[in-house]
Subunit: 348 residues, 2 copies
C-alpha cells in the first residue's frame, strides 16, 4: 500500500450523533436550517468537538499547462496560465481578492507551467515538468511524473495542516484544463464525452464540438492503457489536477476538512475517492458550476453543493466564497439557545 | 396617491452600464462569477457608484399573532411567537446569532402579539392590535389597522435609512403565518391553494390537508371582498406581513436595497411590488425555501435567489446568511485587476 492508497481518517461518529441531537433542540423547527445543519454536524464530527470552528483558511492554487493545447481547445491562449499566476501573486485575481476578504493564507503552486516563471511573491516552484504532453498522441505524463505531482499535493496539504488551518481549499489554474478534466471524467466514469464537455472559459458551439472530438480521439488512443484510476491520471491528467488529488487524499488522511471548488476540483476529488477509501467524508462541496460535466461528477460523489449561481471561474473561487456560509453554520450551531434554555415551547 | 402607492426610486442606469462594462474587463472569463456579477452591478446601480459597498446591515424582525390559529393550523402553539420574541431579545435565536456574526443592528418589532409583552431589550412596541381576527369568519384586520401596519413598516425603513444602513433585511415571526402567507398568495395570484401550501414549521400530511381546507374556506368567504391587493391584505393579512410590505415600499422609495428572506417575506415583497411601481428593482433574493409556494411567488417576482439549501426558518435568517456572499461580490467588483492592469491576454 502506497501513501495515497492509505484510507482517510475516520469521522467521530459519536460526536456526529451528539451534534445532530444538539441541532434538534435548538430554538427552530427541526431541520429548518437545511444544509447549514448538515455542515455543522459534519464539521463537529470532523473536528471531534461539539463546538466546531472555522477560523483559519488555507488556500492553494495549483497551476500547470496542458499539452493538449496543441489541439486548440480553449478560448484563451496558453500564455494566460503564467499571466494569471503573476496576477495571483500581485493580488488582482478573484481568488486573491477572496483570500484577502477571508484573511486566508494563499499559496500559488507552480506544478508545471510551460515556461519557468521568475521569482514571484507567494508562488512556490514545485515543477514536475514544462507542461504535460499532448494526450492525443502519447501519455500526458510518465508514472514517475504522476507520483511526483501527487507528492506535490501531499506536501502542500501537510503545509496547510502545519499552519493550523481549519480548512483546506484547493484551486487550479491551467488553460485547457476543462478539456483535461472532461477526458479524465469520461474515462473514469465511462460516460459519453458529449455529456460532460462544456464551454470552459468560453468556447462557442463549434469550439465545443472540436473539444469533444479531441477528447474522443484521446480516449480511443488510451483505451487499452486506461486500466486503473492511476493509469487514467497518467494518460490524461494535468499536473495541477494530480496535485489536487494528492492534496485531498493527504488532507483527509490527516483529518483536515476540504472545500471542493468547481468541475476540475471535483474531478480531482472523485479520483481521490477512488484511490483512498473514505476521503469524501472530509469534503464540503461549494457549488454546482455551469459546466455540464460537473453535475455528473457531483452525483458520483453523492454531493450536495451549497451554491448554484452560475459560477465557472475555478481558482478555488467558489470554495472561498462559501467559507462565510460555513462560518454562519458553525456560529448557529455553537451559539443558538435550546428550547429549554430559552423557555420556548416545542412542537405540540 | 397615498404614500405607499408612490413609485420606488429609479436605479442609476448609466452606472449600471458602467458596472457591467467594468465586470467584462476584470481578469476572468466573461460571466464566470455568475450571479455575483449581477449583484455587484445591481448594487452599483442602486448606490449610484462604481465602487458599491455593504458595510452596515440593518435587520428588523416583525412579530405578530394570527387569529387563524383558532383553526389549529400550526405544529407549534401560539405562545411561541412571544417566547421567540424574548429569545430574539436575549440573543438565542438564529437571527440573533447571525446579526451578531454580521455586526448588524437588530430591532425586533412587536406589531401585535396576542398578549402585550413586558419591556424587552431590543424590542420596539408598535402594536396594531392583539393578534389579527380569524380570517375564516371575518376580515383579518380593518382598513385602519392595515394602514397602521403599513406605517409601522414605513417608520422602521426610515429608522434603517437614518442609521446609515447599506441594506435592509426584514424578517418575521408569527406562529401561523405560513397559513396567512399562502392565503395571501393564493388570493393575489389566483393559484390553487394546494399548489402553494406546505408544512410550515412542520405539519404532517394530515395537517397540511387541514391547512388547505382552512385557506379554501377563507378564500371562498372573502371572494367578493378581495377586490385589490390592499383589500386582500386587510382580509387575509397578518400585521407583521403588512408591516414588511410597508417597509419594502418605503425602503425602495428611499433607495435603500433590501434582501428578501423566505416564503413569507417574498409574499410581502410581491404585495409591495403590486402597490408601488418599481419596488422590486431594490430587491436581492436570498434563497429558495423548502416551502412549495415560495417557488411560485419568486417566479412572479422574476427572482433568482442565491441559495437553495433547504432553509425554511424565517426570521430573516436566510437574508442574513447571504450578506457575506454579497460582500464577496462587491469585493470582487471593486478589487479585481483588469486584463490591462494585470497584463493578462484576453480571449483569442
Amino acid at each position: 500500500m502506497t501513501w495515497f492508497t492509505t484510507p482517510a481518517a475516520g469521522l467521530n461518529t459519536e460526536i456526529q450523533e451528539q451534534a445532530a441531537q444538539h441541532q434538534s433542540i435548538l430554538t427552530k423547527p427541526a431541520g429548518s436550517l437545511g444544509q447549514l445543519e448538515n455542515i455543522a454536524i459534519q464539521f463537529a464530527a470532523m473536528q471531534s468537538t461539539n463546538t466546531p470552528k472555522l477560523d483559519a483558511t488555507y488556500i492553494a492554487v495549483f497551476a500547470a499547462d496542458h499539452g493538449v493545447m496543441d489541439e486548440n481547445v480553449s478560448a484563451f491562449p496558453q500564455a494566460v496560465t503564467a499571466e494569471m499566476v503573476r496576477n495571483f501573486s500581485r493580488g488582482g485575481a478573484a481568488i486573491s481578492v477572496l483570500a484577502k476578504q477571508l484573511n486566508a493564507t494563499l499559496d500559488v503552486v507552480d506544478v508545471g507551467t510551460v515556461n519557468e516563471l521568475e521569482d514571484l511573491s507567494g508562488v512556490l516552484s514545485m515543477r514536475v515538468a514544462s507542461a504535460t504532453n499532448n494526450f492525443c498522441t502519447q501519455a500526458a505524463m510518465s508514472e514517475v511524473q504522476c507520483l511526483q505531482a501527487l507528492l506535490v499535493g501531499k506536501e502542500i496539504a501537510e503545509k496547510a495542516q502545519q499552519s493550523k488551518a481549519d480548512i483546506f481549499i484547493g484551486g487550479e489554474m491551467g488553460i485547457g484544463n476543462t478539456t483535461t478534466s472532461a477526458a479524465l471524467a469520461s474515462a473514469l466514469l465511462q460516460q459519453p464525452v458529449a455529456d460532460i464537455v462544456g464551454p470552459g472559459t468560453g468556447l462557442d458551439n463549434k469550439g465545443i464540438q472540436h473539444k469533444i472530438e479531441v477528447i474522443e480521439k484521446a480516449l480511443a488512443y488510451h483505451k487499452q492503457a486506461n486500466t486503473s484510476p492511476l493509469k487514467i491520471l497518467e494518460n490524461l491528467g494535468g499536473f495541477e489536477i494530480v496535485a489536487l488529488v494528492g492534496a485531498y487524499i493527504r488532507a483527509a488522511q490527516m483529518g483536515l476538512p476540504c472545500i471542493i471548488d468547481g468541475f476540475i476540483s471535483s474531478v480531482a476529488a472523485l479520483f481521490a475517492s477512488r484511490l483512498s477509501a473514505g476521503v469524501e467524508q472530509w469534503f464540503i462541496y461549494s457549488h454546482q458550476s455551469a459546466e455540464p460535466g460537473h453535475r455528473i461528477v457531483l452525483q458520483e460523489l453523492n454531493a450536495t453543493p451549497l451554491l448554484n449561481i452560475g459560477m465557472r471561474l475555478g481558482e478555488g473561487s467558489a470554495a472561498a466564497s462559501v467559507v462565510c456560509l460555513i462560518k454562519n453554520a458553525l456560529a448557529l450551531h455553537n451559539n443558538m439557545a435550546t428550547f429549554e434554555q430559552a423557555g420556548v415551547s416545542d412542537k405540540v
